[in-house]
């Protein structure tokens, strides 16, 4: 089991470890408890959004609208709360909005039969516009709502609550993808949609459900982000889709569908987070950091390819 785990993720895990090793030489602060916690906290939102993205990519699709869904979900939640509605009501409503956004992506994709790139790209604009309209372009803040604050700033058994959320999302999505019939269908549809249809799988339904999960995960991310910032902003998470996609791909999820895991995506997200963190600790120039990030992603993907080739040979 554990051996299998290391074999499966050897390349990418190696990449992460090397990165951590290099980082610990580069910055004395790197291994401090405080900093490690920070890294996990900083990555938690992107990682959860990337878990959702994993479904879309497993289907050989993509979801460019997750950043907009993150923003919209946060706004719906915060606006509801500032208007005095209870958290227990607004949380489900906000998540439902996120699921609905995902549903739209899935529905239009299967209905029109066009590539999700163009559908989710359109919705990226649409949901962003809706978010902007909802708050008239303004950020909406909220300070005195205990459960809302707790989401990203609370502790459970001494562990930061967002880490608890992250762990549950890992468990949940890993379980769904690897243990359930639905997860299996996602892999089959992504691996060979025609074969899936011949096997009697309802491809449309599987696709729509998957995008709904992608939406839901973006929604969870949106709630966490809003809590983290004590406010919701219509411009939040702009470009987060690219980080989420990078996490998936670094983690070995194939853009041609049918291959990838949640654990892989998690490791991918951690690589990006560690990289940003150490560059920030070292105060690397922003422009340089853009270049370094690109180069490191290329190297990481390259290592993975090389490893797979060697394994195949």
């Amino acid at each position: 089991m554990i051996k299998g785990f290391f074999r499966e993720y050897a390349g990418i895990l190696g990449g992460l470890l090397i990165l951590c090793l290099v980082s610990s030489f580069l910055s004395e602060y790197f291994w401090s408890v405080n900093n490690v916690t920070n890294i996990v906290l900083q990555t938690s939102i992107v990682a959860i959004v990337a878990f959702g993205m994993t479904y879309a990519i497993l289907l050989a699709g993509i979801d460019l609208s997750v950043g907009s869904i993150v923003a919209l979900t946060g706004l719906v939640l915060v606006i509801g709360l500032t208007n005095g509605l209870p958290f227990s009501l607004m949380l489900p409503i906000a998540l439902l909005v996120a699921v609905f956004c995902g549903f739209s992506n899935g529905l239009i994709t299967t209905w029109l039969g066009v590539h999700p790139f163009i559908v989710t790209m359109s919705f990226m604009g649409i949901w962003r516009g809706v978010a902007m309209l909802t708050s008239d372009g303004q950020a909406v803040s909220l300070y005195d709502n205990a459960p809302f604050e707790y989401i990203f700033n609370g502790y459970l058994f001494g562990i930061p609550f967002p880490i608890i959320i992250l762990l549950s999302m890992i468990a949940l999505n890993h379980f769904v993808l690897s243990k359930t019939t639905f997860g299996r269908r996602v892999y089959i549809v992504g691996g060979n949609p025609e074969a899936a249809a011949y096997s009697g799988i309802n491809v449309s339904k599987t696709t729509i459900y998957s995008y709904m999960i992608t939406g839901l995960m973006a929604g969870v991310g949106g709630v966490m982000l809003a809590s983290r910032m004590f406010s919701a902003q219509p411009t939040a998470a702009n470009g987060m889709e690219l980080d989420a996609i990078a996490a998936c791909v670094l983690g070995g999820t194939s853009l041609t569908g049918g291959r990838g895991t949640i654990i892989g995506t998690l490791i991918g997200a951690l690589i990006i987070a560690v990289l940003s963190n150490v560059m920030s600790l070292m105060n690397v120039d922003f422009f340089v950091s853009l270049i370094v990030k690109g180069v490191v992603i290329l190297i990481a993907v390259g290592i993975d390819v090389y490893k797979n080739k060697r394994k195949a040979a």
Partner: protein
């Protein structure tokens, strides 16, 4: 007469103007093997797809146990006890054999998959039907033949009393065919109705009880096997008389020519060892072997798609073939065994595909020569009798046999010196086979050297001058085909008599 389990009444399927199936009425009975026979593109697969719920009929109806049924999806058909093994493989390469067998049919509790049960059930099925494949291996690492067996196991994994096979043997070699026929007799003894489609006449005569012949989408006749034989069936099928399956060699030009290709201890550690042979202009050399013997890998190496050690000498010159481009420059053409993935661009037109390998040569200074391409396409269509609506039709919408002819056509314009044919008649009807054989004869008469890789022993024996047998990635024997018997060849192919 046994019970009718499934019946079609006036079944039609039209794709636009193309009447793929046009008024088909057949009764399928319990405990019988019912073969549907017809030329490429006559609508066999389309018929089966309607029975499997993949296509909805344009007109007509399907009766199940005498009752009208409408299948809206493959699932409906499956729930009605119809199992189908498709011509196109419907497997996922990233999943294991067991996972593929139970795709969308996983044993589960509240949606949670029981992985252990999948494995044990899959092993049970593989064992029951004597299929020698591990259930835990990923399908992507299997050969085509093994995948076909997995496909069969998948079809048999849920309860059914009608089992449909669409050309199951086209990528199987004899040993696997035996496995399949055992499966079929097992099913027969369970009083199931079997619907069978194949182009291999001998096989059809061996296992069928009833045979329905189709032509151009239309129903011709249904006959009992006992009351017929191969020749009248072929006549019914092609609509004219055919005298011989293999065109005879023009003995007047039987002189073999110069050495065209000489291969010396060709080795790829993972794929084949120490392969040496000669090939002369105007000669057909056959390569026979069981599936996985390594024939295709050798051919891939000759064509620059697989690295090798050893020497390749073409027309007396040593060449290093690293890429297909170098191979083509040296006059080699290669019709691969996997036309859909390696031979054609399915989305593109017949026109583009016919010129796939020659458009650069026809071109003048990098500019497409539209006119020459059109005339070359039209000529290919005529010469090879390819059934298309027009040259702009997409190749993906053609039947398998017609696709195969286009793969062949794409090479002929280049007039290769050495033509490698890997399973060129797989899934091709008798009429078209004859046409392909005739083309081989025609080419050799003009001095082309041909390598013919095939798993059909009669085919290699009748068409080649010499025959090489491969076993377990080695060349084990060379024969002259004159006076050779099938048994002699099989001894070497299977290695039963290995102290020779």
């Amino acid at each position: 007469m046994s019970k009718v389990l499934l019946e079609t009444v006036g079944l039609c399927k039209h794709f636009g103007d193309n009447k793929a199936v046009d008024g088909l009425s057949i009764k399928f009975r319990a405990g019988k093997v019912h073969t549907i026979l017809g030329e490429n593109g006559c609508g066999k697969s389309t018929t089966l797809k309607m029975l499997a719920g993949v296509h909805a009929p344009t007109f007509g109806s399907v009766l199940r146990n005498g009752k009208n049924v409408e299948f809206k999806s493959p699932r409906d058909s499956r729930d009605n006890g119809i199992a189908i093994i498709f011509q196109e493989l419907s497997l996922c390469n990233n999943l294991t054999v067991a996972e593929n067998i139970f795709a969308n049919n996983e044993p589960h509790r509240f949606g949670v998959i029981d992985s252990k049960k999948i494995l044990s059930d899959a092993e049970a099925i593989l064992n029951k039907y004597h299929i020698p494949i591990s259930a835990e291996i990923k399908v992507g690492s299997l050969s085509m033949a093994q995948r076909q067996l997995v496909e069969i196991a998948k079809g048999l994994s849920y309860p059914s009393d009608v089992v449909i096979f669409d050309e199951p043997t086209s990528s199987l070699s004899d040993s696997e065919v035996e496995i399949l026929f055992n499966i079929i007799s097992e099913l027969k003894s369970e009083n199931k109705s079997i619907i069978y489609v194949s182009h291999k006449m001998a096989e059809i005569m061996r296992i069928s009880d009833e045979i329905t012949v189709m032509r151009d989408g239309q129903y011709i006749d249904t006959v009992n096997k006992e009351e017929t034989s191969i020749d009248p069936l072929i006549t019914m099928m092609v609509g004219r008389e055919m005298n011989d399956i293999y065109p005879s060699k023009n003995e007047s030009v039987s002189e073999i020519g110069d050495l065209a290709l000489s291969v010396k201890s060709l080795t790829n550690p993972n794929a084949f060892h120490n392969v040496s042979f000669d090939l002369h202009a105007g000669e057909v050399v056959g390569f026979f072997g069981l599936v996985g013997a390594g024939r295709s890998d050798v051919m891939n190496a000759l064509f620059g798609m697989l690295p090798y050690e050893g020497e390749i000498i073409i027309k007396g010159k040593k060449v290093t073939i690293e890429t297909p481009i170098i191979a083509i420059k040296n006059g080699i053409a290669f019709v691969t065994e996997n036309r859909k993935e390696e031979g054609l661009v399915l989305d593109h037109s017949v026109h583009i595909n016919c010129n796939l390998a020659s458009f650069e040569r026809i071109a003048t200074r990098g500019l497409i020569n539209e006119q020459a391409e059109v005339s070359q396409t039209e000529e290919s269509i005529k010469r090879m009798n390819i059934r298309v609506q027009n040259r702009l039709q997409s190749v993906g919408s053609l039947s398998g046999g017609n696709q195969q002819k286009i793969v062949l056509a794409k090479w002929l314009e280049r007039q290769p010196d050495i033509l490698i044919l890997d399973e060129p008649t797989r899934g091709v009807d008798v009429g078209a086979k004859y046409e392909i054989y005739s083309i081989i004869r025609e080419l050799t008469e003009k001095g082309t050297a041909v390598i013919l890789v095939s798993s059909e022993l009669p085919e290699v024996m009748n068409m080649s001058d010499r025959l090489f047998v491969m076993r377990e990635k080695k060349l084990v024997k060379e024969f002259k085909t004159k006076g050779l018997t099938q048994d002699q060849v099989m001894v070497y192919a299977t290695g039963v008599d290995s102290n020779d």
